[in-house]
């Protein structure tokens, strides 16, 4: 018998939390993320979505890319790379950022954790070691370390998440404001907790060294036993983030460095992220192009839509008239929102038409037959889901 697995090179890696997650993945519904085996869902996507909205649930963010950037020039280097003013981030705070090419097109989005004056952590969905190295060029004292495999991370989201962390013994966690970072001792090692997440709800992210991951899981699940804790996968995440109005690579934007066709990538202004672009700070990648775009206005604008009827507008095209003769955009993500009871979508609309009448042509199938409907869309300025508890400090227990 051959002891060597001939498929070893094709098998996916597993996250430090995998042994627990495998046991709970009743349906064996796996997908992958950055080379890691990753749950699509554990039991049922909608059930897990409701765990997020109604109780609390965990999402394994270990496969996310994590980089430590340290040194005297770390802040200056990051400030040169991202569009937001990194100098304004206070220690133990997190900031959401995007970074762009010189043409002002979005490479990726992510979060910067300011751990100390000369120490940051950058997290993002796709690997960006090469871009970080490029961005560090010319800065004498910066070390970039890829922590992706060296740091396990678990997101705990939902209305009872604060109560669970208190029960876990994290004294003072209730004082954390949104985007705050706190440090606790867990089995004599550091447990980093940030009040962050990707669901638009009350939630936290827990960062721990991989060899303590299973201890953390077990103690967290013991603490959450009576607070409805349950794992959730990619499908539920996608529902929650869309309700919160958060963007996803591969959905709302095409990563600029992977884009083949001219301007099939996006600018921060097109993604409605103009608030992340700070022209008052020193020079940064894409500044000139973005200044020009600010001047002339973005070609497209990412728009939140509340769509008539209950058929999700997946892949729908958007028109300026009911007869569908004037196409003005396309839907990037769409779903029926169980919490809000609305047919919601994010869509890229040509800016000059974004304030006018909007109609979606929705195609759907009923028992193998194809149907289509043209329905009216209403623009929304606020996130579809934004409960008060997400911002409350201290947050409610349930």
């Amino acid at each position: 018998m051959n002891a060597i697995d001939p498929y070893a090179g094709e098998r996916l890696k597993t996250s430090p939390f995998h042994p627990r997650q495998r046991a709970l993945n009743v349906r064996d519904a796996w997908t992958s993320w950055n080379g890691y085996q990753f749950a699509l869902h554990y039991y049922d996507a909608e059930y897990e979505y409701f765990c997020i909205r109604n109780a609390c649930a965990t999402y394994d963010i270990s496969p996310m890319q994590k980089y430590e950037i340290r040194g005297r020039d770390a802040e200056a280097m990051l400030n040169r790379m991202v569009t937001r003013d990194v100098a304004k981030i206070k220690p133990n705070r997190v900031a959401y950022c995007v970074w762009c090419t010189d043409a002002g097109r979005v490479i990726d989005d992510g979060t910067i954790f300011k751990l100390a004056g000369d120490r940051f952590m950058l997290t993002c969905g796709s690997p960006c070691a090469a871009w970080l190295e490029k961005s560090a060029f010319g800065f004498a004292e910066v070390q970039v370390t890829d922590l992706s495999d060296a740091l396990a991370a678990l997101s705990l989201q939902g209305p009872t998440s604060g109560a669970v962390l208190k029960k876990l013994g994290l004294n003072g966690v209730e004082n954390a404001k949104p985007f705050d970072i706190q440090h606790f001792s867990f089995h004599c090692h550091e447990l980093r907790v940030s009040r962050t997440g990707f669901t638009g709800d009350l939630g936290y992210e827990l960062w721990i060294q991989p060899d303590l991951a299973l201890e953390l899981w077990d103690e967290l699940y013991a603490a959450g036993e009576h607070h409805g804790i349950h794992p959730y996968g990619e499908a539920a995440t996608n529902m929650a983030r869309l309700e919160a109005g958060f963007i996803m690579p591969g959905m709302e934007f095409n990563e600029a460095l992977k884009t083949v066709r001219f301007e099939h990538d996006q600018t921060p202004f097109e993604l409605n992220l103009g608030w992340l672009v700070d022209f008052s700070k020193p020079h940064f990648s894409g500044r000139r192009a973005l200044l020009a775009e600010q001047e002339r206005g973005p070609r497209y604008t990412l728009t939140k839509l509340d769509i008539e009827g209950n058929r999700p507008a997946e892949d729908a095209r958007i028109y300026a008239n009911k007869r569908c003769t004037k196409e003005v955009g396309y839907v990037t993500s769409a779903m029926w929102s169980p919490a809000v009871k609305a047919n919601i979508a994010l869509a890229m609309i040509e800016t000059e038409h974004a304030q006018g009448e909007l109609w979606a042509e929705i195609h759907y199938e009923k028992e193998l037959r194809q149907y289509s409907r043209v329905v009216r869309c209403q623009r929304k300025d606020q996130p579809f889901w934004a409960p008060a508890r997400a911002k409350a400090t201290p947050p409610p227990d349930c």
Binding site: Y43, D44, E46, N54, A55, H227, G309, V340, K341
Partner: protein
């Protein structure tokens, strides 16, 4: 002078919905509620400290999405959470588990009967077809079949068109279905007794019919035609209890400028020149208005708060004879922990869902026999759910509460009226039955609220505690609800309307009756319509 455009009597969820739509249309509206809390049967109350019971209705599936969305009830705090998995308890160790996953559900049925596992597909397709047709009538005012008004003719034509689209064979089946019993209908599909019994239980819940009584097949349909987010037949819990639904609708009422007054029991509807002109309260206060809307059931509206002399001939008798029999009880139990059930795997998705303590089809029919004789069965059918296993807001962490709906429970006992002692004995019967399937259950009990038809009528004013505000039989459905000739929410006295479950489409926390009535009222007052259409037109 207390002058309003509209007075709504009763702050049940339909009365509130009605008021919300009238207020939204710009009318000056007041809702008058006799209790010191709102919600009627869609209510949550902290009867025992730390525990919030849904005292009456306990789950929901008929709540119309279109209304939820239109009144923005999510913003007013409403979150409906579907729950999964029901365990049906048969005789001895026999269990039928309803898994959420289709494949798992199929394998479970196959374990009991390969025949029935296959037949389930046909059963569900047939039932969905019937349900679809009925669902399309929910948010529409029934046509008057004796009228020649264009609107009624058009509506009849619309219905006929829907009906014909079923195809000839199905039309015959459909008509047969409406008059059949649940048990006989299921006989067409299934052979296994527990499967039949489990599928038959929705046919008797809340009704004075047995599983073998003609008409119970429709009640079955009424209970499975709802949906949660398009999942037809699914049931959900309201976060915070059923009162969260009423509270959210009340939020919409006040947002649109409507007024809600509690501790304001209506003594009499004031009628002048054969028109309703206002109401007099039990405390003597009077309110005048252009129209009066009653959220009370048909019997109570015409025999309790109307002067018989104000009614056209025959109406009082119709109301008195309106079929509204009390047949159900409710036992709300606070528990110190989550009960465990014998023969059920320790699967959190399963034993946190619902429990149906059945026995056999025979058990259900025998329980009905007892009810007819003015007794409760020693082996009643109990449908339970443990909301706290899903909802972190209704019990302290680690503690639970269990809602137990009991079919049947007589409105009057053969040996005399309900007394606290007899009520306790009834509650004891229920927990004895649960204890048979969950040894040690009684040790978990912290507090119990036992409700017979008597308590339900006394507290929230449902005649005999009938949960549907009137039986759901063909003679009282659609254009016959509440009475033939009065199926369009307008009542025999001018400017008087009804908006409760005594009107089309009947019982259930759907908010439809209230919304439909508002649409008709606005038409009469020549106000622009503020009530949405259902969003299932592309189903």
């Amino acid at each position: 002078m207390n002058a309003y455009d509209a007075i709504v009597i009763g702050a049940g969820h339909n009365g509130l919905t009605n008021a919300a739509y009238l207020a939204k249309a710009g009318l000056k509206v007041i809702v008058l509620e006799k209790n010191d809390y709102i919600g009627g049967a869609a209510v949550s109350r902290e009867v025992h400290e730390g525990w919030i019971y849904s005292n009456c209705s306990y789950v929901c599936s008929m709540m119309r999405q279109a209304i939820h969305r239109d009144l923005d009830l999510s913003r007013h705090g409403l979150l409906l959470v579907p729950y999964l998995g029901t365990v049906n308890f048969g005789q001895g160790e026999e269990r039928l588990l309803s898994y959420h996953d289709e494949e798992a559900a199929y394998l479970e049925l196959k374990r009991h009967s390969p025949h029935d596992a296959d037949a389930m597909h046909r059963f569900q397709a047939d039932l969905s077809r019937y349900a679809q047709l009925i669902r399309k009538t929910l948010m529409r005012t029934p046509p008057d079949p004796a009228s020649f008004r264009p609107r009624d003719l058009m509506e009849l034509l619309h219905l006929a068109k829907q009906f014909w689209s079923l195809g000839e064979r199905e039309i015959y089946e459909y008509i047969r279905f409406f008059t059949m019993s649940a048990a006989e209908y299921l006989e067409d599909y299934f052979e296994n007794d527990l499967i039949k019994a489990a599928m038959a239980t929705p046919g008797i819940i809340g009704t004075a019919l047995g599983v073998y009584s003609p008409g119970s097949a429709y009640v079955l349909l009424h209970h499975v035609m709802g949906d949660v987010d398009g999942a037809i037949g699914a049931w959900g819990l309201a976060r915070g209890g059923m009162g969260a639904i009423s509270n959210a609708i009340a939020g919409a009422v006040t947002e649109h400028g409507g007024e809600i007054r509690i501790c304001a029991g209506v003594e009499r509807v004031l009628v002048e020149n054969r028109r309703a002109v206002g109401v007099a309260l039990e405390n003597g206060d009077e309110f005048r208005s252009r129209i009066v809307v009653s959220n009370l059931d048909a019997r109570r509206t015409f025999t309790r708060i109307m002067d018989r002399r104000d009614l056209p001939e025959g109406i009082y008798e119709k109301a008195r004879n309106f079929k509204i029999r009390g047949s159900s009880g409710k036992v709300n139990i606070a528990l110190s922990g989550l009960p465990k059930f014998t023969g059920v795997p320790d699967n959190p998705h399963l034993n946190r869902g619902g429990q149906a303590f059945i026995g056999t089809l025979e058990t259900l029919e025998r329980a009905y026999d007892c009810w007819k004789r003015g007794r409760w069965s020693g082996d009643p059918f109990v449908e339970s759910v443990i909301p706290s296993a899903w909802d972190p807001t209704v019990a302290p962490p680690g503690k639970h509460w269990m809602s137990n709906f009991v079919q049947y429970c007589p409105p009057q006992l053969v040996e005399g009226p309900w007394t606290p002692k007899r009520r306790e004995q009834f509650g004891q019967t229920v927990i004895d039955k649960i204890e048979r399937y969950s040894p040690g259950f009684k040790d978990l009990i912290v507090h119990m609220e036992v409700r017979t038809p008597h308590e339900i009528e006394q507290e929230i004013g449902l005649t005999e505690g009938n949960i549907f505000q009137g039986e759901l039989t063909l003679d009282q459905l659609f254009f016959n609800r509440p009475f033939p000739g009065y199926g369009q929410y307008r009542m025999p006295v001018k400017n008087l309307y009804m908006c409760g479950s005594s009107t089309h489409p009947g019982g259930g926390v759907s908010a439809v009756c209230g919304a439909n009535a508002a649409r008709e009222i606005l038409k009469d007052l020549r106000c622009p319509n503020s009530v949405p259409e259902d969003d299932f037109h592309d189903e």
